[in-house]
Structures are given as C-alpha cells and as structure tokens.
Symmetry: C2
Subunit: 202 residues, 2 copies
C-alpha cells in the first residue's frame, strides 16, 4: 500500500486529510515568518497534533517545506491554462495575479519571503526556486516570441527582455503590495506593463 492508494475511502483517507491539514498550517506559518524562523511546533499546534506526530507524516522540516511547494504547484497547474499560447497566455498571467491577490494572499506572502530567503545557495529550497525561475521565464519568453511572429510585439522589444521585466514587475509589486495592500492593484499594474510591450489590445 503506497501513497498512490485511493485516499477518499478506506484507512488512508484520514492520513491524507491529516497531511493536507499540516500543509495548510505550514503555509500559514512559513508565509508569515519564512522557512528559517517558522517552527514545526507552531505548525503542529495549528494542525492540532504534537510536533512528534507531525514528523510521522513529514520526516523533516525540509520535507514539509518541499511538500508545501509541490502542493502549491499542483494547485496552480490545475487552475492555470499553460497551453493557451501567445496573447492568451499573457491574459491568463494577469488573471493569475488577480486571483492570487484576492483568493490566496497567503501564498503571495509565502513566495515573496521564500524567493528572497532562498537566494542563498545553501537554502533548503534554493534549487526549487532556481528551477522555478528558469521555467517561468522561459514560459513567458515563449509567449512573447509567439507574438513577435505575428507582429503583435511593439517594435524594438526583445522577447527575453520582455519576459524578464514582466516577471520582475510581478515579483516587485508583490513586495509593495505586502507593505501597503490598499493602495496597490497588482493585476492592473501588470496589465499596464504588458500592454506597453505589445501592439494589440490585451
């Protein structure tokens, strides 16, 4: 009986629910303090079990952190249409920013803090973010490249550069938003930025 055994019914349903509750608690803790400062005891308390009990499900703090990131990736992949292509990809990107701001503000916090913390080469999830940025940048770059082929890219705009600045605007705005949530509309700003790079209406 592995982890791929059906989880909705049977003796593993409770375990799966437990794991999910722990991950949710971990998001709460790590999003407000980062990985280093966040404690397993705090996570365990919020999940309603002891710290040793938590370590039965995730053998180490590092494993828990990885589980959180994997869970979040699965969530994003289910919601976001990565295969839209060209302009629709960029529209979906703006929608994602809007969704994150209104529906999952804790995950915005989590990634804002972790992406900074994990720049240190020996950080437990450094490699995750290294790969993540490579993938995201290449993905956005491909979208701009598609637009270039159909002449929808503003003259003089380079695809790689456009991808870099677009991702940078998204990340930078998250920081500003976390310091002053009422006066920053992340989606609107990202939309404006992308609009300044293309010739067609977003």
């Amino acid at each position: 009986m592995t982890a791929t055994t059906p989880r909705v019914r049977g003796e593993y349903a409770k375990t799966a629910a437990r794991r999910q509750a722990i991950i949710a608690a971990a998001v709460e803790v790590f999003s407000s303090t980062g990985f280093h400062k966040g404690s397993l005891r705090d996570v365990a308390d919020r999940a309603g079990l002891s710290q040793a009990g938590l370590l039965h499900h995730f053998p180490s703090k590092h494993h828990l952190m990885q589980a959180v990131l994997t869970w979040r990736d699965d969530q994003a992949q289910a919601r976001f249409d990565f295969d839209a292509g060209g302009l629709d990809t960029l529209r979906a990107l703006v929608d994602l920013v809007e969704f994150n701001q209104t529906e999952t503000p804790e995950l915005v916090e989590l990634f804002a803090i972790l992406s900074g913390e994990a720049t240190a080469p020996d950080h437990p999830v450094h490699d995750y973010f290294l790969r993540r940025y490579a993938v995201v940048l290449d993905f956005v770059r491909a979208a701009f490249a598609e637009l270039a082929e159909t002449g929808q890219l503003r003259p003089g705009v380079d695809g790689t550069s456009a991808a870099r600045s677009t991702v940078a605007v998204m990340d930078g705005l998250q920081i500003q938003w976390l310091y002053d949530r009422d006066s920053v509309d992340m989606a609107a700003e990202v939309r404006r930025h992308i609009q300044s790079l293309v010739t067609v209406e977003l």
Copy 2:
C-alpha cells in the same frame, strides 16, 4: 563624550573602527541568511571578537540590524544625487542600479532578503522598510511628475503607476539576478523600462 566626538584621532578612533568592522561583518552574515537565521556569534567571529564583546558595541541583535541599515542609508545618500530632478533623477537611478550590481552585490542580497522577511508586521525592521518604500516611491513619482509637466512623459502614463512599476522592476530584477547573475543585466533592463515610459532619450 558622545558619538559625535572626533573619531579619526584620540581614544575613540579604535572604537569607531571596531563598530565599522562589526557592521561589515553583519552585512556579510545577514545578506546570506537574513536577520532571523543570522547569528551574532557568526558576526562576532568574522569581526574578530567574542559575542559578548560585540554586544558591548551594539546592545542587541535588533540594534545591530538597525545600525547596518542606517549605515547603508548614509552611504547611499553620499553617493546618490537626490536633488538632480526630472530626467537626471531617473538617469541617476539607473546609475545606482549599475553601481550596486558591480560594487556592492552584498547589499543587493541584503535588501532582497530583508525586504521579503520584513513584510511580516512584527519583524524587527518592518517599519524601516515600510517607511523606505513610501519615501522611495514618492521620490520616483515626483521625478515622473516633473517630466509630465514638460511633456516628456509618454501619453497615457500615470506618474504614480510609473513609479510603482519602476521600483517593482528594480526589486524583481534583483531576485532574478541573485539566482542567475551571469544572464541578467539589471541596469540595462531598468533603463529599457524607464525608456518605455518617457518620450525623450534617457
């Protein structure tokens, strides 16, 4: 005898040098691990004195962190011409990015990590970053506003929005650069971004 007593000669020169060495060591430590994970013992070791000895100069970890930020602000103020005005302000901004990337990469790390960590309202330097972003954003906004008066702003561009996106690009690029230093030219990207907002040659 206060801290404003001449430091170059006399019995206070050594103390000032000691404090400076400690601050330099603190930049090293906090820039690679952040405030929470960075330890006073590590800082003390690098500065060549005991942990208790360090606490004679800075009564707490929080005080040391504040001293680092204040020192950095003084440095920046001495180098950066804040009163240039209009287009020259924006040019100085690009120069600053270039300078930081080539001359003070550790401070880029420090601010990238801390600006994320300190989004938590109870972080020791949360208020510092809150105020810092308010000041910087208003400063850049004023520069764009000056350009608007002389018709040097691209039609449809709002000063506040331009300031937000410009600062966001700067912050976001720092993260990307820290993950892949060889393939990101921060100054060039910032210049490109600002150029897309104004009608005159930067």
